[in-house]
Subunit: 250 residues, 2 copies
Amino acid sequence: MEKAATYDFIAEPFRCDLNGELMYSTLGNYMLNAADYHSAERGFGWKALKAENKAWVLSRLAIEMQNMPQPYEHFHITTWMEKTLRAFTYRHWAITGENNRLCGYATSVWAMIDLTTRQPADIFKIGDGKIRDYADENRGVPIDRASHVKIDKENLELLRETDIAYSDIDINNHVNSIKYIEHVMNVCPEISKRSKQIRRLEVAYATESHMTDRLRFYGKEEGERFCCVVMRVADGVEQEAVRCNISYKL
Amino acid sequence: MEKAATYDFIAEPFRCDLNGELMYSTLGNYMLNAADYHSAERGFGWKALKAENKAWVLSRLAIEMQNMPQPYEHFHITTWMEKTLRAFTYRHWAITGENNRLCGYATSVWAMIDLTTRQPADIFKIGDGKIRDYADENRGVPIDRASHVKIDKENLELLRETDIAYSDIDINNHVNSIKYIEHVMNVCPEISKRSKQIRRLEVAYATESHMTDRLRFYGKEEGERFCCVVMRVADGVEQEAVRCNISYKL
């Protein structure tokens, strides 16, 4: 089996925003689906891991789109792993549109957790470590790696506080990784006003959030970017859940 | 060209809820996409209407699922119009899973609006009324029609008030029809607690809501159902946007 795989999608018009561009949250979901199909076909998808009481969790993600798919555009997501270690897997995506038009790239870091302890698990223990056979160490992406997303927490403003809702929670019983992006874009003033376009979106996931938690979104504009820290509040205690940077096109 | 058309989808695991069932909001989006593909292939899709400064707007919708698609299930949405009049089109859907397993049915009423005046437009003026050739008057669905959704407004409780956010707005520059369903399910206590399953979901759309509005969700439990009225607040004035009934399985 090939190390990379390509999956086809359509930019459904009602998943496009007012500017006629596919929403980042929809693109993000498709990328996660492509990652899961790619993994499932190679024996380490969500279902195979679930049977061993394990799950993949997204640790870091960065997306840079030069051209977003347009309404009705048939587009393609190619995904592969550059490297996999015991604790982390480095996965990339290339997104192309019709006539091979380059849309953009994305890159990520994944960890595996034990579903009971929610603690990190050894990736090589799944399927006798065969996952290593699929890593393609010569194939990176031409965008910066997904960083830890450093945010200076001085002067962050509380932009929104909300209960976690039914639609935030996915099959893994925690707030869906992509839902955080949707929420952060919703509290970002320049995105809401549609006055800026996104050059790079970067997210670091620190802690899982659950149905009974609340989320607080602290953010600020800083030069040509929006920085946001999402805190989960459980039993009155605040804990960092997600850090996100949205860098604008100049 | 056939009067009905069938489109294939996959119940992506991360669009499934904690119970391992496809989310209604995701299903609703797929149904809208199927409706649009069906219309587009017959000359009256979103793009063709947009060129004439018109758009379809969903007026009423009812969904009854006996079996929700399960994670990774390949499922099929068949859609057709039973009838089309100058002011309204009656569209149905049948959803089937793998091995032809019946998943459920949905039914709807659509109007057409002029994009400048936002007032109703004459459906027969699109493409010389050829849309009538595709109506299949002998093909209904075995569930009750989508009603006006009558709700006794006594004793409704304000459950949530929220600004409209970037992710609520779709390419038609109003709150996406399916996003209301997501919001209503989020304020429904029995859905949030996952203590009830949905027998029938019914929505009536009264007025469009826009980015600068706020939304207020008034709801109550009434026997084996949850009733919700969504009010849009614009310039301090409340106006009914959506009425929704969620009937539970007994």
